[in-house]
């Protein structure tokens, strides 16, 4: 067991090193000089050269690379070209918004997905099964950004029920403590008895969470269904039924627990994907998270910001995948022997 963990964690460092290196060379070899981006197209040659020297871009590539590595290890990604702020501070201030959105999308997708999957599997070949599996297929075939806009048209424009974007009604002025607005709203409620901030945070969350959660929901529903069907075929389930165990107990206590093994893996992997997938959802709903921020950085060719953003998101992705692997090996001992 420890050997497996050590081996798996040991693989982490070379992978992260590879990611950091690849990001450096992708940006270093890409067309467009950062100095030109900062100074504008009409800047004269001397100014560009001077700035290049200041940014260390006049040094040979391998020297730049070593300096870059040293800085990245200290989480120093330099300053954003656009705002002049330290990139790491910009990321820190926006990350909670993305995490909050991803967590709520995932809760929604997991609960609904597992529920639909179980119902489909137990009522196999029923109308309900066909409808939910066809719905799941629609879910994975849909462009997320389009779904977001359609939800805005229906729920914001026509029914006027939910806000079109942002995290909080501008009427509310409050000082965020955790930067997870729903949590902050609760804290605010306990302090002042005013539920408005909390409700505003929740209503702003609904549409983005549904949009971002649709694809994982569909995938989780499909995996749960096939995994449940696999488990329900097994002898111990037949035995449980034969000795007269109530059906709900068979399904939820005996079958679901084993069927959830592959589902947990999928949930973990999807959560990692969500952090990156949030780029589209955050852009549509003006959600002030890291996805929208990274998108604007890419748009304005803000190299230090792009570098920092990609490295942070990919590192989270790798760490989440590692965590899922380890978790899976804990709950399923078979995998460790490989």
């Amino acid at each position: 067991m420890y050997k497996f963990i050590l081996k798996r964690v040991g693989m982490l460092l070379p992978t992260l090193f590879g990611v950091i290196t690849l990001v450096f060379f992708m940006l270093a070899l890409s067309p467009g000089e950062p100095a030109r981006v900062i100074l504008g197209e009409r800047a004269n040659k001397e100014a560009v050269e001077k700035l290049n020297a200041e940014l260390g871009l006049d040094k040979p590539m391998h020297v730049q690379y070593v300096i870059y590595l040293k800085k990245v290890v200290q989480l120093d990604f330099g300053r954003s070209i656009k705002t002049g702020q330290r990139v790491i501070d910009e990321i820190k201030s926006r990350f909670p918004a993305t995490i909050e959105l991803a967590i709520f999308s995932m809760i929604l997708a997991s609960v609904a997905g597992i529920f639909i999957g179980v119902i489909s599997a137990t009522k196999r070949y029923s109308l309900l099964d066909y409808v939910s599996m066809f719905g799941a297929l629609f879910g994975v075939s849909m462009p997320v950004f389009w779904l977001g806009l359609v939800l805005i048209i229906i729920f914001s424009v026509n029914l006027n029920l939910l806000p079109t974007g942002g995290r909080m009604d501008i009427r509310y002025y409050f000082v965020p403590i955790t930067n997870f607005y729903i949590l902050d709203g609760l804290i605010h409620f306990f302090k002042s008895g005013d539920l408005g901030v909390f409700l505003s945070a929740v209503t702003h969350m609904i549409l983005p969470a549904v949009t971002l959660g649709t694809i994982p929901l569909a995938i989780i529903a499909r995996i749960t269904r096939s995994s449940m069907l696999e488990v329900l075929k097994q002898d111990y389930i037949k035995t449980a039924r034969a000795i007269g165990t109530p059906e709900h107990k068979v399904i939820f206590k005996y079958a679901l627990r084993n069927a959830l093994l592959p589902v947990i893996t999928v949930i973990g992997l999807q959560f990692g994907m969500l952090l990156a997938g949030a780029i589209l959802t955050e852009t549509i709903f003006a959600w002030p998270g890291i996805g929208k921020w990274l998108y604007h950085a890419i748009e304005s060719r803000d190299f230090p910001a792009i570098q920092g953003g990609i490295i942070v998101i990919s590192t989270c992705f790798v760490l989440i995948n590692l965590f899922v692997d380890l978790l899976y090996s804990v709950i399923n001992p078979k995998i460790r022997t490989e």
Binding site: L137, M142, I298, I310
Partner: protein
């Protein structure tokens, strides 16, 4: 690996045609796969005959008929903010989306399979190095990788295709490598080796055909996701540029009118939904035929 057995008979060369025929017969019985295939054929026909089918010129602007609502005859799906017929633009958009889908999948299919084949067959340091690179690529969420590659190459349709192709390539390499490893141990490979068959011939003529099944499934499903991804890139301004009638771009350009002209946003999205649904249905069907293990 039961799907491999479907292909692995002693005399592959003589039998292969009948195996493909048999699989096709099985696939034909799968109603939802056939439905998917019909959707694809429908869109392919529309794309090919776009100039004949489309009622109007997709680029023709007319300020007198801006934002005509859904069902304003003869503009069946209405017009956009430049007075262009939405139906005609969707029809021409099918050309772009299908081409992007097929080309980007071909890129990942060809290069990914090649890498997987070489590294699985030769093993050793070739395998170690290429799999390390593949692992690093997989450490990026592919949506992010696609966006970054296209942002660096420059926002054009061609670059979008290349970016999608590269970002998806690791999956094909992994699948191919796994099949090759399983196949390499088979007796017929040993037999051919002992008969003095060369490495290249062994790889491409004996092993490759037996490893195609999972790759075909991946590629079919891949066309659908490539279409969604290219639309997403265009939506973000990183793919097709105006006035190209690309579906994602059509949705993006109508964003500011969601409150006044819902039809401009809605219909291109429905087109994407159906074409992708077609590839997903077909892909699932092909998987059921080639890999009965996964059938439920």
């Amino acid at each position: 690996m039961s799907f491999l057995k479907l292909f692995k008979s002693e005399n592959v060369a003589n039998n292969s045609e009948s195996i493909w025929y048999e699989n096709w017969q099985l696939l034909k019985k799968n109603k939802s796969a056939m439905f998917g295939l019909y959707i694809i054929i429908f869109f392919v026909l529309i794309a090919i005959f776009a100039p004949v089918v489309a009622p109007f010129d997709p680029y023709a602007q007319n300020i007198d008929i801006r934002k005509l609502p859904f069902f304003s005859w003869p503009y069946i799906l209405g017009t956009d903010d430049f007075g262009r017929d939405i139906l005609s633009r969707i029809i021409y958009g099918a050309r772009i989306s299908l081409v992007i889908g097929f080309i980007s999948v071909s890129i990942s299919l060809i290069f990914g399979s090649f890498i997987g084949l070489i590294s699985g067959f030769y093993g050793g340091w070739i395998d170690k190095i290429s799999m390390r690179i593949i692992d690093i690529m997989l450490a990026f969420p592919y949506i992010l990788l696609t966006i970054v590659i296209v942002a660096l190459l420059g926002p054009t349709l061609l670059n979008a295709m290349i970016a999608i192709g590269i970002a998806r390539l690791p999956q094909y390499a992994r699948i191919m490598r796994a099949s090759v490893l399983a196949e390499k141990a088979a007796e017929y490979v040993e037999a051919e080796k002992s008969l003095g068959v060369g490495n290249v011939e062994l790889m491409f003529r004996s092993i490759l055909p037996n490893c195609l099944a999972p790759i075909i499934v991946q590629a079919t499903l891949g066309v659908g996701s490539a279409i969604i991804e290219s639309a997403a890139l265009s939506f973000l301004g990183l793919g097709a540029q105006p006035p190209t009638p690309e579906w994602g771009l059509m949705i993006a350009s109508a964003r500011e009118f969601v409150s006044s002209a819902w039809w401009i946003v809605t219909f291109p999205g429905i087109a994407i939904l159906f074409v992708v649904l077609g590839f997903n249905l077909l892909g699932d069907g092909i998987r059921d035929v080639l890999d009965p293990r996964l059938k439920d």
